[in-house]
């Protein structure tokens, strides 16, 4: 899905790009100025080779020239005007992705900006091995990256908020103030949090196939696991999804919603089934606790399945998260 706030760039040939710069150069430069001015101090651009009188101006003009004459693969670029607001992309174009990371890492080291690591709390439940936590961190990060790529930024934020307590206990921070999204009511916020945690678990447990699947699975995937506008309801509109589903299953304006709810109910059943299996090791215990804290009666409401009493009963019968952690010897 394209971002409706940005115009598409259709012609990616060098001639097409040069013509675009000729016709829309003022706008392109303004977007680059807007982005570079938001993320970069002038001196911070020196390691990227912008060392002239005005490194920001240099960076903007270099990016315009790169867009005009560079070898850009449209399959690997944002194909809208948004590309001109993506500073990391242009700086990585200048020095390469590896060098970009090295420069930023070096700068962070020199500036000593990172705050000292907070002390781990000692009374946050059973001790866990560093290895299991490191592995868990990597697994969580991998899925969060996929959630961001397949949904939108707000859902990542809601997931961070919803899992904060658990991550606090695992990674041993000193408790800090929890953020609140003031633009949503408490009830709506709670729904978004549970929606985000559910979608995260769907990806984390590998329940969303990249292609094919039943019509109901497709309805879930195309509605809720494709990039969407960063605003409620955080899913693609049904009218965009309908043409992607088997035509025989689309019998009216509510067909997509019905299929989506059927698919969500089936996926919930798959998530519930994880609790019927035995856990083998510490890693699986952490995963089990994590899954349990991601499911509640609010999840059922957030997914618009509150009429399904069977699902409500099932989620209420799940074991409490505390009971899933083995007693310390």
């Amino acid at each position: 899905m394209g971002d409706p706030r940005y115009e598409s760039i259709v012609d990616w040939s060098r001639e097409g790009r040069a013509l675009l710069v000729e016709q829309r150069g003022d706008e392109i430069r303004a977007l680059l100025w807007l982005a570079f001015g938001s993320f970069c101090e002038r001196r911070a651009l020196e390691p990227f080779g912008f060392r002239g009188e005005d490194p920001l101006d240099e960076a903007v003009e270099w990016s315009v020239a790169r867009f005009t004459t560079g070898a850009l693969d449209p399959e690997r670029c944002t194909r809208t005007f948004r590309i001109f607001t993506e500073v990391r992309f242009w700086l990585a174009q200048k020095v390469g992705a590896m060098a970009y990371r090295r420069i930023m890492w070096t700068r962070a080291e020199v500036q000593h900006n990172d705050p000292p690591e907070p002390p781990r709390e000692s009374n946050d439940g059973p001790a866990r091995s560093e290895g299991a936590l490191d592995e868990m961190r990597t697994r969580l990060a991998t899925t969060l990256q996929r959630l961001a790529a397949r949904t939108c930024a707000d859902l990542v934020g809601y997931w961070l908020g919803g899992t904060r307590r658990l991550r606090l206990a695992w990674f041993g921070w000193t408790a800090t103030v929890e953020l609140e999204n003031v633009s949503a009511s408490k009830k709506q916020r709670s729904f978004h949090v549970h929606d985000a945690m559910f979608r995260y678990q769907c990806l984390h447990q590998g329940l969303i196939p990249d292609a094919d699947g039943s019509a109901s699975t497709m309805a879930v995937r195309e509605s809720m696991f494709r990039p969407c506008e960063n605003r409620p309801p955080y899913r693609r509109p049904d009218e965009e999804v309908a043409p992607l589903l088997p035509a025989a299953r689309i019998t009216g304006p509510r067909s997509v919603g019905k299929l989506r709810r059927a698919g969500l109910a089936a996926i919930l059943g798959q998530l519930f089934a994880f609790f019927d299996r035995d856990v083998k090791d510490e890693q699986e215990t952490l995963e089990r606790v994590f899954l349990r804290t991601s499911l509640s009666a609010t999840t059922i409401h957030a997914l618009d399945l509150e009429r399904r009493d069977d699902l409500l009963l099932r989620v209420k019968s799940l074991p409490p998260a505390d009971s899933l952690v083995p007693e310390e010897p």
Partner: protein
């Protein structure tokens, strides 16, 4: 070893759903105590950029004036001015004339954006009395000195309100931009349903 905090541009790319080549950045996000706040801040920044960018596309007049404001972020660009990038005495505040609304701080050399409902009135003023700051407006139909405030009518948005430092004799935006030492902008865009200042 704990993963290190990603830089601002990388966080922005993460907000946009990218950064597949830097798992460490995502590891930081799931395990750092200040990650939630950093993500919220990066999301707000991206929302601001998207709003301004959306207004700029198809409006060369706004593009040119935006570039001009941002290009003079540190005054003349000399190291001395750069070191006084934050000049508290020159901070301006955008205050809704509607009762109860919080002011929004506008930084010199930047373009803030504010979604405004039709009929809502906004003013731009210095937080502290500063004689050398003057205020202007610019929209597709023209420009001029800001008469205290701006009431948004249908079809007007986007409207750019400007604060110009040291532009004493200017009567037009063009003249003010040519002579001002620093400029700050507030872009008024029409608020969509449920849209907030965030």
């Amino acid at each position: 070893m704990s993963p290190s905090k990603p830089d601002a541009a990388t966080l922005d790319a993460m907000v946009l759903g990218g950064v597949e080549d830097d798992l460490e950045a995502w590891e930081w996000l799931v395990s750092a105590p200040d990650a939630d706040e950093a993500w919220a801040s990066a999301s707000r920044q991206r929302r601001r950029i998207d709003r301004v960018a959306s207004a700029i596309q198809g409006r060369p007049w706004l593009a040119r004036i935006t570039s001009s404001i941002l290009a003079r972020r540190f005054g003349t660009g000399t190291p001395l001015l750069e070191s006084i990038f934050v000049v508290p005495a020159l901070e301006s505040a955008l205050r809704e004339t509607d009762a109860g609304a919080e002011p929004i701080i506008v930084e010199w050399g930047r373009v803030a954006v504010r979604p405004v409902r039709l009929g809502q009135t906004l003013g731009l003023r210095a937080r502290e009395p500063v004689a050398d700051v003057r205020f202007f407006y610019r929209w597709r139909e023209g420009d001029g000195e800001l008469p205290g405030s701006w009431t948004l009518e249908p079809g007007e948005a986007p409207v750019l309100l400007l604060a110009c430092l040291d532009a004493r004799d200017a009567s037009t935006v063009e003249r003010a931009m040519a002579t001002a030492a620093s400029v700050a902008g507030v872009l008024l865009v029409e608020a969509q349903d449920g849209e907030t200042d965030e």
